[in-house]
Symmetry: C2
Subunit: 163 residues, 2 copies
DNA sequence: TCATCTGAGTTTGACATTTGAACTCTGCTC
DNA sequence: GAGCAGAGTTCAAATGTCAAACTCAGATGA
């Protein structure tokens, strides 16, 4: 909202209850919820895997999962590991998957401003192989998400220094 | 990360400490921080204005502002209202302004999935006047943010019903 | 000179949430 | 039928949130 050198804005032009951003924030209100969605974006779907991956207390994970399932971002799916008993995996719904651009935009920002331009994930157009990013486009001009390929390029050497 | 019908992902390919998204989330960890940034996106910059606009307790606002100033998302700028004493406004830095695509992506998601497609803010390309959105683009193919014009289209009738 | 006002905080103390550890529950598998 | 593992639930202590009251500083007025 460039208001340049005029009178200051004293109130947002859109109240919280009418603002898509504010309403979205209400469905992803805290750090844990964001990190859980990040895990699912990466394909991690089991309770215990998410728990150890991001270091969240089980009690909190259980509560947050219930919330995002209730909000329809994630659904619980039965799976069976080998011949063991049925367990549940948490996977993004269509609604949840459409948050991916938000996560990618955050990642892009973090890579630029916190990691000094070093990205840990390469995004390319599956058809052309050309790199892609998140940005402003004319309506109808965006590439479909399903054409995007993700390739981790995290350099283990940095953390590891192994022989 | 489409892993289709193979073995499940048991661990994210990028650890939290190397993931731009996770690092970004650490700088905007809660609802209040998001809402404060939303206010600044809309141009609301004064302590008291932000406070009443989003209904945040003063003590919490004061703490959150200190955090985002320390993280460099926002800077404190002196202003003088009429002949009153110098006071401070909080405005986005370049780093903060580059979060705008994230906020817009959230807004787009909220408009689609919570407001059933009703947007309260129209985004257009300042040059052509054509509508724009946030999406995946070939690298280098995005429109610069400064070409985007924001126009509130919130329909007061809905909340108001005035004569 | 002194009292008052206003924006921007800080302090306070009651209340709510988060944390991590210990416990439970449920069906395997041996 | 004992042991195991994943997915929770329960609990007390630490931490964070809330609203109201208080502070502070400089302009303004009497």
């Amino acid at each position: 909202m460039s208001n340049s050198d005029d009178a200051p804005v004293r109130e947002s032009p859109v109240p919280l209850s009418e603002c898509g951003a504010a309403l979205a924030i209400d469905q992803i209100p805290d750090r844990w919820t964001w990190l859980i969605l990040r895990e699912m974006f990466y394909g991690v779907s089991r309770f215990a895997d998410i728990q150890t991956d991001i270091g969240i207390p089980k009690s909190v994970l259980s509560g947050r999962l219930a919330q995002i399932v209730e909000n329809g971002l994630v659904k619980k799916e039965a799976y069976r590991d080998g011949s063991a008993r049925t367990r549940y995996a948490y996977v993004l719904t269509q609604k949840g998957r459409e948050l991916v651009p938000v996560i990618l935009a955050l990642m892009q920002w973090g890579d630029k401003h916190i990691k000094n331009g070093e990205s840990a994930l390469e995004l390319t157009d599956k058809r052309s192989g050309n790199p892609v990013k998140i940005g402003v486009v004319p309506k109808g001009g965006a590439l479909p998400l399903r054409w995007v390929t993700y390739k981790p390029v995290w350099d283990k050497k940095q953390a590891d220094g192994s022989s």
